[in-house]
Symmetry: C2
Subunit: 302 residues, 2 copies
């Protein structure tokens, strides 16, 4: 079976919502991504943690993913992100971003990570994303994400990475900033024009848009009555997307294969927000994922 490698952050998150505060819980793009993608295909993580990283979180990741390429810097501290959500859980304010060991991170892919056909470059400095790509000798399909910070500070490098990948997964604000366009259909087409054959723009609770071969395909989010913690939804979404493509062995995906993958992406994103931290991704199972996928497809069918 094809496998997946994901490079990106492992974090200790402090998440403050109007209902509860969770302190120093497992977070980071690579955690959400891999706990989601590993339901579909074997996943390796490329990341770094500090000496303070709790053993119980190490075990959660080790149980679901290959972590031979996760460096443990005993003398340092794990990346820490502290944020507060607004009453409607729609707006998030960053209180503290302590990069710690992530600031000096030099990604090194072990033998398993280097073998994967599917590669996901979660947010990292664009230079590091390129270094991961170089080391992933067997890559066939590469997706990337980035954030407004790197679009602002390292635009030419971000654009260079975009020209090197097959797929881009961004949220609406990032897509607008990258392209200087307001209309998201125009944004997507401008990003497509940079080279990647697959562009996905995420709109949180409002769903997502897939751009592929001149088509623009809208996907609503799975409607949820209770959202507990929106952290990581986008990374769990990407995990379902790349996971499903790997499971389909779709190194050169068709529109049909991409639509199935977008369905699983929406399912994983919706599961992730139903509990704090990665708790729901840890407690869910294949049966629940498959049921929600069938429900989602059925909802959309006219």
């Amino acid at each position: 079976m094809p496998s997946i490698t994901c490079s990106g952050s492992i974090a200790l998150d402090t998440t403050r919502t109007p209902f509860k505060t969770a302190e120093m819980v497992l977070g980071g793009a690579a955690s959400y991504f891999s706990l989601s993608s590993s339901f579909f295909a074997p996943t390796s993580i490329v990341s770094v943690v500090g000496g303070d990283f709790p053993d119980k979180y190490w075990q959660i990741l080790a149980k679901k993913a290959n972590i031979e390429s996760v460096q443990r810097k005993e003398e340092g501290k794990t990346f820490h992100f502290d944020s507060t959500f607004s009453f409607d859980l729609y707006h998030r304010q960053a209180n503290k971003t302590e990069l710690n060991v992530l600031g000096e991170f030099e990604p090194k892919l072990g033998s398993e990570a280097a073998k994967s056909e599917f590669l996901y470059l979660a947010t990292m400095p664009p230079q590091k994303q390129m270094e991961v790509m170089v080391q992933a000798k067997n890559k066939k399909l590469v997706f990337m994400d980035t954030i407004e910070f790197y679009i602002k500070t390292e635009l030419p490098k971000v654009q260079q990475v975009i020209t090197m990948v097959d797929g881009v997964v961004l949220n609406d604000a990032e897509a607008r900033m990258l392209t200087n366009e307001s209309n998201l259909v125009k944004c997507g087409k401008k990003i497509e024009a940079l080279g990647p054959k697959i562009v996905i723009i995420k709109k949180g609770e409002h769903g997502s848009l897939l751009f592929f071969k001149g088509k623009v395909i809208p996907f609503p989010a799975f409607p949820l009555e209770v959202v507990v913690d929106p952290t990581g939804a986008g990374d769990a979404f990407a995990g379902g997307l790349v996971g499903s493509l790997a499971k389909q062995n779709a190194t050169n995906p068709s529109l049909e294969q991409l639509k199935v993958a977008m369905g699983y992406a929406n399912v994983c994103g919706s599961l992730a927000v139903e509990d704090f931290s990665v708790d729901k991704l840890v407690s869910t199972n294949n049966a629940e994922i498959e049921k929600r996928f069938r429900d989602y497809c059925e909802l959309l069918r006219i």
Copy 2:
């Protein structure tokens, strides 16, 4: 074939966008609704215009709808709405709202309007909506809309109308104000609990949610690269919805019939915004509507 009656405003709109200003053009909920619904089933309008209402607009409405119940008050002026859209066409600021003849409007349904099985109560004071309902002797399926102004100033009356109808069509801001809830799934369920068996929450470019028999079904908007004038999208949406239900003779619609109607609602809403005023609804045809409906269903199919 079953027929439709729509009560609501006919307006002269002045619409200012960053690209163009259209002055004193045909607008109003009843215009957008009926120019959309009349593609599906015969439609009667219940409304009022002033002596200044241009003959060319009268002809546009007369050609597509039965206007025997549109009063013409020669001594008065037509309802005039002047508004400015933000650069991204997402936010609208009202500059002037001159009710004119609409302020004193006493709806009177002629024989054709009173015969319709399908009734759409576009925004009007809730007392007037009730008067229309009383006069619509043959009504089998009734939908209503309202605006934040009446939710703020006449909440008990608005709630009373809601208990009397089969379906409610609101936008997200109205649904939140009506229910005091932030989460739209909770909003929809609270409105359902007031009595109507069909609740639809519109989210503009982000699509819509249908609440029916305990299910929550999300519909994305048809993705558009060029939006010219968002005015009337919600009323054109409602016209496609009620129009399609009438064409299906669905006085007691099934989920399947409602999904088809939501598809046509999205199609009509997306067409309406492609040109200023009602221009696109006037220039389009059945073939274009059917093609976009097939495209929409195909986009959604996983």
